[in-house]
Symmetry: C2
Subunit: 328 residues, 2 copies
């Protein structure tokens, strides 16, 4: 990572590392009296230890060189940029911070499209995106399958996908017929698949539904929603009376963890079998949990909100399309 | 809170309570075979124990009654809505979840403008907004002052304000002259005020700058960025070697906590003196800290990103303008 701000590079790298994402090198380039953004970019483009390049940029001094250096980076690895000074007020602030001239935001945006740079709106989104690029295979298209045992979150996930330019393809007749064989009759009968609370009677309903989605050809990635509940249960546990706590822990929390582990291990097997991106939505992921770790260590990133997932997926699709346009 | 989804009401209320925000009543209304959203709204409008009303809505059955009930609510208290089924894909999903017809999103949006409802895009934004309404006085306008010791975050904060329709007014000559008397000569000389790292030599520089902003008449609320660093230091501390840890803790963490407490107590006094909304940006706020608690217990909400702050402020301004239009 390179940043024209010491605060932002410090925050981003520390918060990322608390989520288990390591930066092997970072630079706070300040107001760049000597070495510039472009110098560091050229270095990172060739650095075999760097898998994703991230930057906080207020202004670029040599446009041509920046474009060339960015193209060198994006040929081989994703390049994520947080741009400060997008608006007039921000640009004025930047001019007294690093002395950089931010230039018209439209021009910077056009430059990003041409060079395959992905822009984010804050350091948390930057971390979300870096995690996705580190863990997920490249999506082959923008069509997303969704499976959940919670209708409301499925609805919000579908909304978020469309908002960020992704598509929710219809289930094929074959998929529907197969789902009918094991889901309760009142399942949603469409994508998003809502297996409904009925799945509590048959834990494999979720896994089997995931496999149907992964097998459908025009579905390029799958978001699954239900399996990371134990951090939530631990939170509840901390809020109930002492006498009840032991009972609650031994029954609910432990049962939940066992259930999660079973489901997650099946998810991982399926992900490996089909090679498509699989993303999970968990709750209270900030507090960490065994389940989250198990998922992320095995290539299934976990996020907290549908918006985060859709933003991340849309950027991954954007980069994949950029590379395809380049015939790489 | 009322929700047409058990998951969303559970998540929202639990996550809010882990941030110290209590819900005194909540309802999961499901697919509303009997009592409807409108019934609960009418109840909440008159309930003296409810200060803010929140809802997750997939569909409304009786438009006219919903509008009347919403107006009753917003006369006396903010009403925050997360709408599921905004897009065609989401609406289709909603129809198989609660059976609600979501209707055109544009119509729902127009209804929100007419009734003073504030829409949010996920449950985390809902919690952010509820916290703001519980802690902050009503802003008298959309002009925001920003003070920070970190240029980069000040730049991003200015960008975020403009993105959400807020304004960053110029400093008056009087304000600039006063700031010149105690800030290092290389301060930003504009709003956002960047007191620069020079403030480490004079802790009161930050507080005095805040007071200049609060005193300037056309500044309606102030965002301050620098003072909640101890959770970050604790995070660093957990990552360094055992031998260094004790030293680091006793020197850096404790010094930081003492410094923060001094600054925060001055901030609280100023906030009480001027009665304008004051919001802080901290880091690692999820992990909680003494400083965050001290701020929030005294009416200064803490958020993690400039985007969160600007979104929350813009919604508060929106509601204040709605009430002024009503001459309430």
């Amino acid at each position: 990572m390179i940043a024209q701000s010491a605060t932002i590079v410090t925050l981003t790298t520390l918060m990322a590392s608390s989520q288990g994402i390591g930066f092997n090198k970072y630079v706070s380039s300040g107001n760049e009296a000597d070495l510039h953004m472009e110098d560091f970019l050229e270095y990172y483009a060739d650095d075999p230890e760097t898998k994703v390049v991230a930057a906080y940029i207020e202004g670029v001094r040599k446009g041509r060189r920046f474009i060339d250096a960015s193209r060198e980076v994006t040929k081989n690895k994703p390049f994520v940029v947080l741009k400060g000074g997008k608006t007039e007020a921000g640009a004025a602030a930047a001019s007294s911070h690093t002395g950089a001239l931010s230039g018209a935001d439209m021009i910077f945006d056009a430059m990003c499209v041409q060079t395959g740079i992905m822009r984010v709106s804050d350091h948390l989104e930057m971390i979300d995106l870096i995690k996705a690029f580190l863990l997920l295979p490249r999506p082959m298209g923008k069509k997303v399958g969704i499976v959940s045992a919670q209708g409301g979150m499925g609805v919000l996930m579908a909304d978020a996908c469309v908002k960020y330019g992704l598509e929710i393809p219809k289930l094929t007749e074959g998929s529907i017929n197969e789902l009918n064989t094991f889901l309760p009759y009142f399942w949603s009968h469409r994508n998003p698949i809502d297996v409904t609370a009925g799945f509590m009677g048959d834990l494999s309903a979720l896994t089997k539904s995931l496999e149907v989605l992964l097998r459908q050809e025009d579905i390029h990635s799958v978001v699954c929603l239900p399996q990371v509940w134990s951090p939530l249960f631990s939170t509840i546990s901390a809020q109930i009376s002492d006498e009840m706590q032991d009972l609650f822990k031994s029954i609910s929390v432990e049962m939940m963890e066992w259930m999660e582990e079973t489901i997650i291990n099946d998810f991982i097997k399926l992900k490996n079998k089909y090679g498509k991106p699989v993303i999970a939505i968990g709750t209270f992921t900030q507090s960490g949990s065994k389940s989250n770790r198990l998922l992320e260590e095995n290539g299934i990133p976990v996020y907290e909100t549908p918006d985060q997932v859709a933003r991340v997926m849309s950027k991954m699709v954007e980069y994949a399309e950029y590379l395809r346009g380049k015939d790489i």
